[in-house]
């Protein structure tokens, strides 16, 4: 009997309840609900996978986190789905001179650039839009992110087929009238967390709706003089 357990243990197929995970260093995300659910906040380095439609507030969710160190280190965007608007980031109190946007010519180049940025130590956070990543890419990114003490946010649009990637944290975002609804199917050192809502009305009052559904302003009819 012991032999079987030993063998399973050697093959790392056995998980022991008594095993203590090393505490992961976390930083506050700026949203109390998210901090509470994640027991402290977002990890300080590693890869965070975010499955989200574009435009529901996925970048806004990260702004308070990014703000914490942008004035000393760089913020890098790789292959964003639009032009990064300096006015927005300036209004959030970020130093726009520290923002770098990379438009790679191919996916391969994007992956290379991401790894360079992560391990350089010069970047605080990397926001990367990429649809098809594989396990070995993520493993490389994890190591690079730890070397450079950088957090790598990977944005993907929701896909039917979702492969479990070895990321530090995986989040599924969906729109909610008060902000964003988050589902956490996977995270390092913790259990999955099912749907909860992050209230964005303090940070973004204009971009949330009050709960009453009939507050939607009707499309103004064109007045004729």
């Amino acid at each position: 009997m012991d032999k079987i357990i030993e063998r399973l243990q050697n093959q790392r197929l056995l998980w022991r309840g008594t095993e203590r995970k090393m505490a992961i260093e976390v930083t506050t995300s700026g949203y109390p609900e998210l901090d509470h659910k994640l027991q402290g906040g977002l990890p300080q380095s590693g890869v965070v996978e975010i499955n989200t439609p574009i435009g529901i507030g996925e970048i806004r969710l990260l702004i308070p986190y990014i703000k914490q160190a942008i004035n000393t280190r760089l913020l890098v965007f790789i292959a964003p789905p639009g032009i990064i608007n300096a006015e927005h980031f300036f209004a959030q109190g970020l130093n726009v001179n520290q923002i770098i946007t990379i438009h790679p010519n191919s996916h391969q180049e994007g992956l290379w650039a991401a790894e360079q940025c992560l391990k350089s130590g010069a970047c605080h956070a990397l926001l990367h839009w990429h649809q098809a990543l594989e396990v070995h890419h993520i493993k490389r990114f994890q190591i690079a992110a730890e070397t450079g003490n950088c957090l790598h946010f990977l944005f993907k649009e929701k896909s039917q087929y979702s492969l479990s990637l070895p990321v530090s944290l995986s989040m599924k975002l969906s729109p909610h009238h008060a902000g964003i609804s988050i589902d956490i199917p996977k995270r390092k050192g913790g259990w999955p967390i099912s749907n909860f809502t992050v209230d964005m009305s303090t940070h973004w009052p204009a971009l949330t709706r009050a709960k009453t559904a009939n507050s939607v302003v009707a499309f103004p009819s064109i007045r004729t003089r």
Binding site: G55, G57, A91, V96, A122
Partner: protein
């Protein structure tokens, strides 16, 4: 009297070839006379001598490598050598194509004595791995004559020098063959015999060329010299022994050039932001590569990494025969002030990271941004080189703006609910691109937040996304 030192390089072109090993017999052949002018050690073992015909040499050694003699290469190499020597000695005069004259007397106030001066010079010169003969003399021509003969002695004793000079035959001088022949007919074959005749007597019988030469040789007449002044720019050319068509193999010869660059910049306490690499291709034009470093760099290792990234993305039309490294602009080194206690773990500074990215992806793929004061949304963000702006304008009012803009506004095609607005922007009259738009914040049924506008013609466009 002034003491001069002359360095004669008998095999300058041979030494400037990029030869990693001496396995092959190498000769440099003068195409006009079809004679060998320079040969390496291996060729010497096969019995090849200078002045031999190419046919004779080829019959002595079957796998002989032959290069044509090019005076331009020697001149270039000579200038490089002078430049190299400039860091230890001041007054340098070039005797093209293969000689360098140094004024020793002035330098003795800097060095302890002649011995010390020569030791410094010798150890500095030995790094270039050139073959050379040397001699001192109390006139430039005397030093030159003794060096060409191969006296290889550094002495300041005038009597000894004169004695050496007097022994030399006239055929080693720079006199024309006709003049030497004329002198031989009157029984003058050595320098001593020539110097026994006074200048006035010589002037009666011979032409001005001989009088000038003798006058300069003895130091009675002044010898005008142009002294070398180093250029501010760095330029080195390396001839490759083999043609290279695989760019991976370029690293080794390139690192030789970059090491020289590092030495050049380090001595001057300079850094450079841009190096230019010219790859001279066979039967094709030169391929020019410009490599940037945003931070400014002098270390060869860092430049090598950047060059390799750039070289990876190019395609050669023909094999490379030689490489030139150029640096046009350089600036004083201001060391980066780093916080001793900060916890940065990485290997690059932001500037270095940008250089690495630019080298691989191209300059236009890596963009920084800065904020302008233009109220038009398209123009408020200006793309610039990363980290090129340090100013931080503070006086802008808070505006709710989307984080992503579309490259150009698109017709609004989906159904949306307007949440906020309008915000009227009617501006831009000053430069011929006026706009009059009413901006709204809208939400789609599936929860996306959009920034849309209505033109004066009541057309609706999508301009940004509140990601």
């Amino acid at each position: 009297m002034t003491l001069w030192l002359y360095l004669h390089f008998p095999a300058l072109q041979l030494d400037s070839l990029y030869a990693t090993h001496e396995q092959h017999a190498l000769v440099i052949v003068d195409g006009h006379k079809n004679t060998i002018v320079q040969h390496n050690q291996t060729a010497h073992k096969h019995g090849i001598k200078n002045g031999m015909g190419l046919g004779t040499a080829a019959s002595l050694c079957h796998d002989l490598q032959v290069h044509p003699y090019k005076i331009a290469i020697e001149k270039e190499k000579l200038a490089e050598t002078a430049h190299w020597l400039y860091s230890v000695t001041a007054d340098i005069s070039l005797f093209e194509p293969n000689g360098i004259l140094l004024k020793v007397s002035n330098m003795l106030s800097l060095y302890k004595n002649l011995e010390h001066y020569w030791q410094t010079l010798h150890s500095h010169l030995s790094l270039l791995a050139l073959k050379y003969n040397f001699a001192t003399g109390y006139s430039p021509l005397a030093a030159r004559l003794l060096a060409k003969v191969g006296v290889n002695q550094i002495i300041s004793n005038q009597e000894n020098l004169v004695e050496h000079l007097h022994q030399q035959s006239l055929c080693h001088t720079e006199l024309s063959v006709a003049t030497i022949e004329k002198l031989r007919r009157v029984g003058i074959t050595t320098i001593s015999a020539l110097l026994n005749i006074t200048l006035t007597d010589l002037a009666k019988r011979f032409d001005l060329e001989l009088v000038n030469y003798v006058g300069r040789l003895t130091g009675q007449l002044k010898h005008p010299l142009n002294f070398y002044r180093p250029s501010e720019a760095f330029k080195h050319r390396l001839e490759l022994l083999f043609e290279i068509d695989n760019l991976q193999w370029l690293a080794k010869p390139l690192s030789i050039l970059l090491t020289k660059l590092e030495y050049f910049l380090k001595k001057r306490n300079l850094i450079t932001h841009e190096i230019t690499l010219l790859l001279h291709q066979r039967d094709h034009g030169d391929l020019e590569l410009t490599i940037h470093s945003a931070q400014g760099e002098y270390q060869s290792q860092k430049w090598l990494t950047l060059s390799q990234l750039t070289v990876e993305s190019i395609k050669l039309l023909a094999p490379v025969q030689s490489i030139t490294l150029l640096v046009k602009h350089s600036m004083p080194l201001n060391p980066l002030v780093e916080d001793l206690f900060s916890t940065a773990k990485g290997v690059y500074s932001p500037e270095e990271l940008v250089s690495v990215l630019q080298a691989k992806l191209g300059k236009q793929a890596v963009q920084g941004m800065h904020l302008t004061e233009d109220p038009r949304p398209e123009r408020s963000t200006e793309i610039c080189l990363p980290l090129s702006h340090t100013s931080y304008c503070q006086h802008q009012a808070y505006k709710l703006r989307p984080s992503l803009l579309l490259p150009r506004p698109q017709r609004l095609t989906e159904q949306v609910a307007i949440m906020q607005g309008p915000e009227r922007l009617a501006t831009g009259w000053w430069d011929g691109n006026p706009m009059a738009r009413d901006y709204f914040i809208a939400q789609t049924p599936n929860g996306r937040w959009l920034w849309i506008y209505r033109t004066a013609e009541k057309q609706w466009f999508l301009h940004g996304i509140f990601s």
